[in-house]
């Protein structure tokens, strides 16, 4: 039933090739596509799904005379209503569990269910971050073991585990770099970031008090090494204002930065540090160690490469591996294995010469819930499996590249293989059709669209990352559908401008949303 329709769409096809149209329904529902009101439209102040005893009138309190008298304005639902409300909402969502989700740069791979189960063991889920350390040795061991895996996989000597996501990890790395510079007397002023970088890179550098400058790219989609060297050579190393470069590798065009080592050497020579955005580590895990390329700091998105679920936007976890020179500046707290084989948490009181930590980034020890999942993922795959992960991810991406390049503009197709993701552009689309229209067409076909309009270096960018957890059959069917849509886009099929037709909602008016923001529910005027 699901086999690729070999013929696909043809320009001569008529609109009435479509789905059978039915009469309008009273409820607005369409069989299993169900409408759902807002919580505040169905809940009641007096309804609750929790059986707690009524509040004892006149019971003594010690609330400092600050009792909350007025209504909070919350509403409740009983359990049946709650489960149904959220189940119905969930059915308006797409997820990896439903189908192919080739969102470039996001590594939407399968989330193993073992990991969900293990993270919920009371021994992990029901322990307090400030519990006496003798009562949480297993938790500390998890953090330590996971850190050890990360060091070995990256070939780096140290790791900071507390950052809460990729961007937080970037901040951790840049702060460590800044602290190292400060320890040497001067923080410097500039961080160099390529235009193709993820938005968090420049935002982080700015957040940490740096000025951001562009690194020029070459026509192959990579850093222009010569120009970068020129920039560094503007001053002597002692006067150099460049604190660090931030380079994504593999980069957001899906290409490996061939000259990474050469660039790193140049930066080091100028007294700077090399930050590597490791969001794309999935392409090389188990096959390449960033430590061998001269990296000083690199965050790893456990929610990408190590498959902790994205959860509709988070949570994530962004441990940062650090070079010898940055390790002393790692943030607090961290876990240390002691001589006797027990573990301890190093906190503020232990700051000393060896621990010149730049400080604390978050209240506790990081994303424990993600650590257990990521460790289970690593133990499951092992060194052999992780290598296979990288290889299959890269294989799938190249397969899509070579299956599409005859019909779709692939700017870097000539320059060699891509890594785990492949970048296309909308150069050849007809009429006034653009990447957005194609993306919405994919929705009707039952796919989540690829990342669109990122990176900024290609017009109408489409960044396709299949990941390694997809079967060839799935990718083949996707290619058929994708090709058919591209043909329509190139032929200027105007109907694509109305897509999606079958999703819970047609295109949404984002301009109106921003012009007059409605960010919380308000009762309708009577």
């Amino acid at each position: 039933m699901n086999a690729p329709n070999k013929s696909g769409w043809k320009p001569e096809m008529q609109p009435d090739d479509g789905m059978q149209e039915g009469p309008a329904t009273t409820t607005g529902n369409r069989a299993l596509m169900l409408e759902e009101p807002l919580l505040f439209e169905i809940g009641h102040e007096e309804t609750t799904g929790i059986d707690l005893s009524a509040i004892e009138e006149g019971a003594p309190t010690r609330l400092g005379g600050l009792e909350r008298a007025e209504a909070i304005g919350l509403v409740g639902l009983t359990e049946p209503e709650t489960v149904r409300h959220y189940t119905r909402l969930s059915r308006q969502n797409y997820g990896i569990d439903l189908g192919f989700f080739p969102l470039g740069s996001c590594t939407m791979k399968h989330n193993p269910r073992l990991n969900e189960k293990l993270a919920r063991l009371p021994g992990f889920a029901d322990i307090h971050p400030l519990a006496p350390q003798n009562s949480v040795q297993g938790a500390l061991e998890v953090i330590h073991q996971l850190g050890d895996w990360l060091c070995k996989l990256t070939g780096m000597p140290a790791v900071a585990m507390s950052p809460k996501a990729g961007a937080h990890g970037e901040l951790c790395g840049i702060l460590a770099i800044r602290a190292a510079h400060e320890a040497r007397g001067r923080a410097r002023e500039v961080v160099l970031v390529p235009e193709s970088a993820h938005g968090t890179n420049p935002a982080t550098a700015a957040f940490a008090g740096y000025r951001v400058e562009d690194i020029p790219a070459n026509s192959e989609g990579r850093v222009d090494t010569a120009k970068l060297k020129e920039r560094l050579a503007q001053t002597s190393p002692e006067d150099c204002d460049v604190a660090a470069v931030m380079i994504t590798n593999p980069n957001t065009c899906g290409l490996f930065e061939r000259d990474f080592r050469e660039i790193a050497d140049a930066v080091h020579e100028a007294g700077g540090y090399v930050y590597c955005d490791g969001a794309n580590f999935n392409a090389i895990v188990g096959r390449v160690r960033p430590g061998d390329l001269g990296v000083d700091a690199m965050h790893i998105n456990l929610h990408k490469t190590f498959s902790t679920p994205h959860g509709g936007g988070g949570p994530g976890s962004g441990p940062v591996v650090l070079s010898e020179s940055l390790a002393p500046f790692a943030p607090l707290p961290f876990v240390e294995r002691q001589q006797d084989g027990t573990y301890r948490i190093v906190e503020e009181e232990h700051r000393d010469a060896e621990h010149q930590s730049f400080g604390r980034m978050t209240a506790f020890h990081g994303q424990m819930g993600m650590f257990t999942r990521a460790l289970a993922y690593m133990l499951s795959h092992g060194a052999d499996g992780l290598k296979q992960v990288a290889e299959d991810a890269v294989l799938n991406a190249n397969y899509i590249l070579r299956s599409m390049e005859d019909v779709l503009y692939a700017p870097f197709a000539e320059s060699g293989p891509c890594m785990h993701e492949v970048l296309f552009g909308d150069r050849d689309f007809g009429g006034d059709l653009s990447t957005l229209d194609l993306a919405k067409g994919l929705i009707d076909e039952g796919y989540h669209p690829m990342t669109v309009y990122f990176p900024l270096v290609v017009h109408g960018a489409m960044l396709v990352e299949p990941t390694e957890t997809e079967s060839k059959a799935t990718i083949d069917q996707f290619i058929t559908a994708f090709r058919s849509l591209v043909e329509r886009a190139v032929a200027g099929d105007e109907r694509l401008k109305q897509a999606p037709y079958y999703a819970p909602r047609r295109r949404l008016d984002e301009t109106a949303a921003a012009r007059k923001p409605r960010l919380a529910w308000q009762p309708p005027l009577a």
């Binding site: 929790i50 707690l52 909402l89 998890v142 809460k164 982080t204 424990m368 397969y399 293989p417 921003a514």
Partner: protein
């Protein structure tokens, strides 16, 4: 490999279409120097689900879980009963395995949930608008300080001494690099916080004053005067809350004049999890500040057929649009924890939250009374919600905590751990009590502490 669908035949066929001889051909761009010849040494090979489960269970078994243990830890992370249906909902693949809702037509589930979540948080905090979550309370606290500096164009923040020390650390760490000036101190051991002293520190260069409610010692005080004082000086009042359940019993910070209210949402729906993932809550009282907020915002709109729908909005504040000019560098947030919070809050509702808060306070009251009767123990607080401070006369609380843990009682958080080296706080023990605490637990704590306090100091 159970997670890798390609077969060797597939791989061969695909390489052929690509025109490569082997997988190595696809890694040609990796410099010689960085090529590995096989799986990384020193790491084990793949393992079955059963084997991994055994290994991880053995690690879990090394921890003393709160389940079935008399448990009194708090200080920014609270143990509450989470209804089973919360986990059912967050395990729905459509929620669990979705990405950030960048394609709203097939992400209305996440988006509507976020809109509801934002509304719940705003109301709980007495604010106009809440965002779609940040990492946790401590980073939310820093974001509030940073936002205050953007709004006021001033660079000085005054922190209450009774702000959670880890939150203060986070702010100070960041401020060091951004060049902001932070005024803070350790908390004074007294029944009521010194809001006058705090007020005195606000000056014309102050961007904001940051105060915790209830504070780190569990004390509760009216912040209205402080708000006025801050506003008089053109500064903002940032209120930090680490126990949202408290707001089912005590006044909302927004209603007392707080400009930005931030906090930790972990109490509702999320669980302890050894400190993460948690849930940073962030709200502003005045909608005019919305465009300076950090993080994602979900807003209402219509689709091409005029049906109501939801989208992420005001993204021009965010890094993916504004890059180095963004209000924050945050991208991935705490989406699934926000869902858990929202489901739990929906189950509670107004009535349930109020009852839950009352029950927490009732039991905490009982525990405080009981401990106050123990010779050698003094109750510090005049006011508290579900957490209070006791002074162990003549004995360091850190030792008490360790000794009790060995006896299977997780007796509280010592201020000695939170403020290492501050002698005045060494005897102070923070005791948190929730609806999960039984009268037997309280009795166990009282008697264990009594024994401990009686023992001669080593």
């Amino acid at each position: 490999m159970r997670y890798l669908p390609l077969t060797d035949t597939d791989r061969g066929d695909m390489l052929e279409r690509i025109g490569a001889d082997s997988i190595d051909d696809l890694f040609v761009d990796v410099p010689e120097i960085a090529r590995l010849d096989g799986p990384i040494h020193d790491l084990p090979m793949h393992a079955s689900e059963m084997a991994v489960e055994r290994q991880m269970k053995a690690l879990a078994a090394k921890n003393l879980s709160a389940d079935g243990t008399p448990f009194f830890l708090g200080a920014g992370a609270y143990r509450h009963h989470i209804p089973a249906s919360v986990d059912t909902v967050i395990q729905r693949g459509e929620f669990l395995t979705a990405y950030t809702p960048y394609q709203p037509e097939i992400a209305q589930g996440t988006l509507q949930m976020l809109f509801e979540f934002q509304t719940q948080v705003a109301r709980l905090y007495g604010c106009a608008v809440a965002n779609a979550s940040l990492y946790d309370g401590s980073t939310a606290c820093w974001e509030a300080v940073a936002m205050s500096t953007r709004i006021t164009k001033r660079k000085r923040a005054v922190l209450s001494g009774a702000l959670h020390p880890h939150y203060a650390q986070v702010v100070k760490t960041m401020a060091h690099f951004t060049g902001y000036e932070i005024a803070d101190s350790a908390p004074a051991i007294q029944p009521e916080p010194d809001l006058n002293g705090l007020t005195a520190r606000i000056d014309e260069n102050t961007a904001c004053v940051v105060v915790q409610y209830p504070d780190i010692l569990g004390r509760i005080s009216d912040l209205s005067t402080l708000a006025e004082a801050a506003h008089d000086k053109g500064a903002l009042l940032v209120v930090v809350n680490t126990e949202p359940v408290a707001l089912g019993a005590i006044r909302a910070p927004g209603d007392m004049g707080a400009d930005i209210v931030v906090g930790e949402g972990q109490s509702i729906g999320v669980g302890l999890q050894f400190g993460g993932p948690y849930l940073g809550l962030f709200a502003v009282r005045d909608p005019k500040h919305v465009r300076q907020m950090p993080g994602r915002l979900c807003g209402e709109t219509e689709d091409a057929e005029g049906k109501r729908g939801f989208v992420l909005t005001l993204s021009t504040r965010e890094q993916h649009i504004r890059r180095e000019k963004a209000t924050s560098n945050i991208c991935t947030n705490s989406g699934l924890c926000a869902l858990a919070f929202s489901v739990h809050m929906t189950l509670l509702g107004e009535k349930g939250l109020r009852r839950l808060a009352a029950e927490n306070h009732r039991l905490a009251y009982m525990a405080a009374d009981r401990l106050a009767q123990v010779p050698g123990i003094r109750l510090l607080n005049e006011s508290f919600f579900n957490e209070f401070t006791v002074m162990l006369e003549g004995r360091p609380a850190r030792e008490a905590v360790r000794a009790l843990a060995k006896r299977g009682v997780l007796g509280g958080v010592s201020l000695g751990r939170l403020y290492p080296g501050v002698e005045a706080l060494e005897q102070a023990l923070l005791v948190a009590v929730t609806e999960t605490t039984t009268p037997e637990d309280i009795e166990a704590l009282a008697s264990e502490l009594e024994t401990f306090v009686k023992e001669p100091a080593r």
